[in-house]
């Protein structure tokens, strides 16, 4: 399969279908047993997470990976520092006004202002998720892969959240891929959808088409939903 620049892509599939595994492979956490992955024409198969991240592929996690004992703002500053590590960032002063400003900006972008100075570990799941995504987005990656961004987020906030996440990320330059179980969200945001089932791709195409696919309806959606 191929991801195109500027696309918004949803990945759906039953539990255990291999969605997370797919993301893990693209981001270098797992090595594929066969096959190759190319990014911008370069073979990135077998690169570790760090190198794929530096190449411009970032991700969020199904179970949020955050710095639990720091505050939300500090998490974002830390992410910014980490992202500039290879640009000589190790010796430069870390806590500059400019950085804090940037972090505050991300806070605003992802609707996290209210929690800026709360220690992350004790925040509700939903907020952790948002922060997780905000951290993934710090580097302005070329591809961002979101693993179930809305799970754990209140239903009435899901849409708002997806808007706040996807709209700022999606521009001509970057591609967004998200794994999702909520078909409302998929329909609303994805331009293209891939359905996984037991490790294989069941369908791939325009969202409406895929969701209308018989097999997808049977194995993924269980007959509900329009």
């Amino acid at each position: 399969m191929t991801l195109n620049r500027g696309e918004i892509l949803a990945v759906i599939g039953s539990n255990g279908a291999g969605k997370t595994t797919f993301v893990n492979m693209v981001t270098g956490y797992l090595k594929p047993s066969s096959g190759t992955i190319h990014f911008k024409g370069r073979d990135i198969t077998g690169m570790g997470p760090r190198d794929t991240a530096r190449a411009g592929i970032c991700r969020s996690f199904q179970i949020s990976q955050i710095f639990a004992q720091l505050t939300v703002l500090e998490n974002l500053v830390m992410a910014d520092v980490a992202a500039s590590e290879n640009k000589g960032g190790l010796s430069a002063l870390a806590l500059t006004d400019e950085r804090i400003e940037r972090a505050r900006h991300s806070l605003g972008r992802f609707g996290l202002d209210a929690f800026a100075n709360r220690v992350v570990g004790s925040l509700p799941q939903g907020v952790k998720k948002q922060l997780d995504i905000a951290m993934a987005a710090v580097t302005d990656p070329a591809i961002i892969l979101l693993d179930e961004p809305t799970s754990g987020v209140s239903v009435d906030e899901k849409i708002g959240m997806m808007e706040s996440v996807i709209l700022p990320l999606n521009n001509e330059e970057s591609t967004v891929l998200f794994i999702e179980h909520d078909m409302d969200i998929v329909t609303r945001f994805a331009t293209r959808t891939i359905a996984f089932y037991e490790g294989t791709i069941l369908a791939d195409g325009a969202t409406a088409e895929v969701l209308a696919n018989d097999k997808v309806r049977q194995f993924v959606m269980g007959g509900v939903h329009a």
Binding site: A53, Q65, I66, L70, L90
Partner: protein
């Protein structure tokens, strides 16, 4: 919440400076205790730096010892007694050791980091015990040192020594504060919290840890050099695990609020120890252990939390 409030560091170091200047007028035994304690405090500071990255070094005495022996061997065996050369050597030796060990140790985490660093320091202990030329367990003595060619008279030797120690400890604190404020220093906390995320942000946890190890090594080497010059004696106990355990203890109890916390904490521990020895020569370990336990139970965030709490209110 981040452990260190970086903006206040300069203030704290200035306060430490002031205290140490006042310390000049203490009775000489107490001033000497202060002098050796702040030298040892640098080693605890080194331990504290690694602790920010979640790593506990139970073998930090290795660098302390290398620093001390570098000074000792140059002064006692090669006859070079100028502090400029001696201390540069002590830092250089421990720095090289830090780089070499850092390459190995930066892969390790948690208890394995602790035990491997302990093992390496104990191997050095074993080598020194075998080194009859260096006095084996007895160690050897270090002659008085000169300062850029000036050899102070016996009467003011202690003063010169104290002043030099204070200046260098303060400089080391400033340098450490600068390091902690840099990307490499700050990311230590990220390593401790979540390496997966750190890697996914494009940073190398291993590199961050490596730098922390090297910085800590240099600090500890300097601490060892200053300690050797102060006590005029070095022996292999400096790299024994019990010594390292003391550094860890101070680093933990002092709290991580400021670079000066371990330095002051070390002095506090030494004071408790020496008074316990004086008042209860037969049960001083019991007193010391009880004090430790009490601090752990009553001040979970370390001694520094007393200061931080006040600020918050």
């Amino acid at each position: 919440m981040m452990k260190t409030d970086f903006r206040r560091e300069h203030l704290y170091i200035a306060i430490l400076g002031l205290l140490l200047i006042l310390g000049f007028f203490l009775p000489s035994w107490l001033r000497f205790l202060l002098q050796t304690a702040i030298a040892g405090g640098l080693v605890s500071l080194g331990v504290a730096i690694q602790m920010r990255a979640g790593l506990v070094n139970f073998g930090q005495g290795l660098y302390f010892c290398l620093g001390g022996y570098a000074v000792g061997m140059l002064a006692a065996k090669a006859g070079i007694t100028d502090v400029a050369v001696l201390l540069v050597a002590s830092i250089a030796v421990s720095l090289v050791a830090g780089v070499l060990l850092g390459l190995l140790l930066s892969r390790y985490r948690e208890i394995f980091y602790a035990m491997l660093s302990l093992a390496v320091s104990m191997i050095l202990y074993g080598v020194l015990v075998k080194a009859a030329g260096l006095g084996s367990t007895d160690g050897f003595n270090i002659p008085p040192v000169s300062y850029f060619g000036w050899m102070p008279e016996r009467a003011i030797r202690a003063n010169a020594n104290y002043i030099m120690t204070v200046v260098l400890v303060l400089a080391a604190c400033l340098a450490t504060a600068r390091y902690l404020k840099s990307g490499a220093g700050m990311l230590c906390e990220a390593v401790a919290e979540n390496e997966i995320r750190l890697a996914y942000l494009g940073a190398s946890p291993r590199r961050v840890v490596f730098i922390a190890i090297v910085v800590a090594a240099a600090l500890s080497g300097l601490g060892g050099g200053l300690y050797g010059i102060a006590t005029q004696h070095v022996d292999p106990m400096m790299t024994n695990w019990t010594t390292s355990g003391g550094f860890v203890f101070v680093a933990l109890l002092a709290g991580r609020g400021s670079v000066i916390a371990p330095v002051i904490g070390f002095f506090a521990l030494e004071l408790v120890r020496t008074y316990a020895l004086d008042l209860a020569p037969n049960a001083w370990q019991l007193v010391l252990g009880t004090v430790m336990l009490a601090v752990i139970l009553l001040l979970p965030e370390g001694l520094w939390s007393l200061i931080q709490k006040r600020q918050r209110q």
